[in-house]
């Protein structure tokens, strides 16, 4: 994963919190992806301004006992493969 990549959600996709189901959702035409809390937390940081390094650093600050870099990288590559993040 390129450390300079600044991931952002694809233009047609909305990330929102569903207060009825108490879940984060990715909403796109004809499709809803229900996110687990970790995925929602990562995708909220994908605003096009933060590099992947900064995203990993922010998450690491929140979870100092966990090694997040590999998991975050793998997750971001996967959602990019789906076309949800650029």
């Amino acid at each position: 994963m390129n450390a300079e990549w600044r991931p952002a959600l694809a233009a047609s996709i909305r990330l929102r919190h569903d207060r009825v189901r108490d879940k984060d959702l990715l909403v796109m035409p004809e499709r809803v992806v229900v996110l687990n809390p970790e995925a929602g937390r990562i995708l909220r940081l994908c605003d096009g301004s933060r590099t992947t390094t900064q995203i990993v650093d922010e998450l690491a600050a929140d979870f100092p006992d966990v090694s997040v870099a590999d998991d975050v990288g793998e997750f971001l590559m996967r959602v990019r493969g789906e076309g949800w993040v650029r």
Binding site: S12, R14, V20, R21, M28, P29, E30
Partner: protein, 360 residues
């Protein structure tokens, strides 16, 4: 989750039929034979309230449809209300009337995506099915949607008159910049049921079409949704993802239905959003609980391992073919009425269809 558990999960999607008026006359129109008159349509304030209630209830997607929704001059206000409620909106349109200005008004209101109907691959063939010149409007509509950067999907209803052109239809979708094409084999309700013999394709035509879809999927990234022709598959479709399970339809006059063809069920007595809250309708109305879950089922559905997957198929199809909405969908090969469908697929097709028209 069904009513027997005492908990009803919230709905995901709302189909808002804001008007039944339409410039097109497609012979398979999914609107009821008895179209809602414009004079009885619910007003702007009611739609605004319904969008708020839908958001509170848990609706995530609103498909703003018709008829032709662009015929409502207050459409942007309805879209804006959905956006305020956190609902992702898709305009479902014939494209007639969708120019850059109108689309701009809707995107300013928060519109997220557009699904455009196309009747066939060429102007002459598409206009013939639509019953009026409209292909050029569709082409322009696709262009303005693309220019606005909105996701574009096409919806093509398939039948014996256009299935032979499927390859050209998919190519058209690619050229028009669609990300997705819904290839919707005609479902036989309402107008399509009236025109069934003119529309029902032969088995060979469908086999060739499936091969065409398979080849496109190999070489193109466009998403192709193949809505199965259930008269031929021997398998009942999980209609609406289950009755009162995922989706709400609101008719132009405020009637609320578990599915957009349930108008045809005579004993349903759909509640009206003018009289009840959407939450009460979803959770407690007799109409939404009539076929919810599995407790209403009879044999062979009641003990079938597929009952939680296909929900016994389509209630409206069961009614249309047997006169009893609680029977197993005759599309299922396990249905005691399956021969009804098998006989229909053996009849030679008649060539002419009648167009949808008000008061028919």
């Amino acid at each position: 989750m069904g009513p027997e558990s005492g908990v009803v999960d919230p709905p995901w999607a709302l189909l808002a039929e804001v008007t039944h008026a339409c410039p097109l006359h497609c012979p398979y129109c999914s609107n009821p034979l008895e179209l809602v008159r414009r004079s009885t349509e619910v007003d702007t304030a009611t739609w605004v309230r319904l969008m708020e209630e839908a958001g509170d209830l848990g609706v995530v997607h609103a498909h703003i449809s018709g008829g032709e929704p662009l015929l409502r001059p207050d459409l942007a206000e309805i879209v804006a209300a959905a956006e305020r409620a956190g609902i992702y909106t898709q305009l479902v349109t014939s494209g007639v009337g969708l120019d850059a200005d109108r689309l701009g008004e809707l995107t300013d209101a928060g519109l997220h995506s557009v699904q455009l109907s196309v009747q066939d691959a060429t102007a002459a063939a598409s206009d013939h099915i639509a019953g009026r010149r409209s292909f050029a409007d569709k082409e322009r509509a696709a262009e303005v949607v693309r220019d606005a950067g909105l996701p574009l999907g096409l919806n093509v209803v398939l039948h014996r008159h256009n299935l032979t052109h499927l390859d050209a239809i998919i190519r058209l979708g690619v050229e028009w910049g669609a990300q997705r094409i819904e290839l919707a084999n005609t479902q036989f309700y309402g107008w399509a049921l009236r025109n069934r013999t003119a529309l029902l394709p032969g088995r060979e035509l469908l086999a060739t079409a499936e091969e065409t879809v398979r080849r496109w999927r190999e070489r193109s990234s466009i998403e192709l949704i193949w809505v199965v022709p259930d008269y031929y598959e021997g398998i009942a479709k999980p209609c609406m993802g289950g009755w009162g399970n995922r989706s709400i339809t609101i008719a132009p006059d405020g009637r609320v239905l578990p599915c957009p063809v349930a108008y045809a069920l005579p004993d349903l007595s759909p509640p009206n959003a003018r009289d009840h809250s959407l939450a009460w309708i979803w959770e407690h109305s007799p109409a939404f609980n009539a076929y919810r879950g599995t407790a209403w089922m009879r044999e062979p559905c009641r003990t079938c391992p597929q009952r939680e997957a296909d929900f016994g198929g389509c209630r409206c199809q069961a009614f249309a073919l047997t006169g009893d909405a609680a029977r197993t969908d005759p599309a299922c090969h396990l249905s005691p009425d399956h021969h009804l469908i098998q006989e229909l697929t053996k009849k030679p097709g008649a060539a002419e269809f009648v167009y949808r028209r008000p008061g028919a």
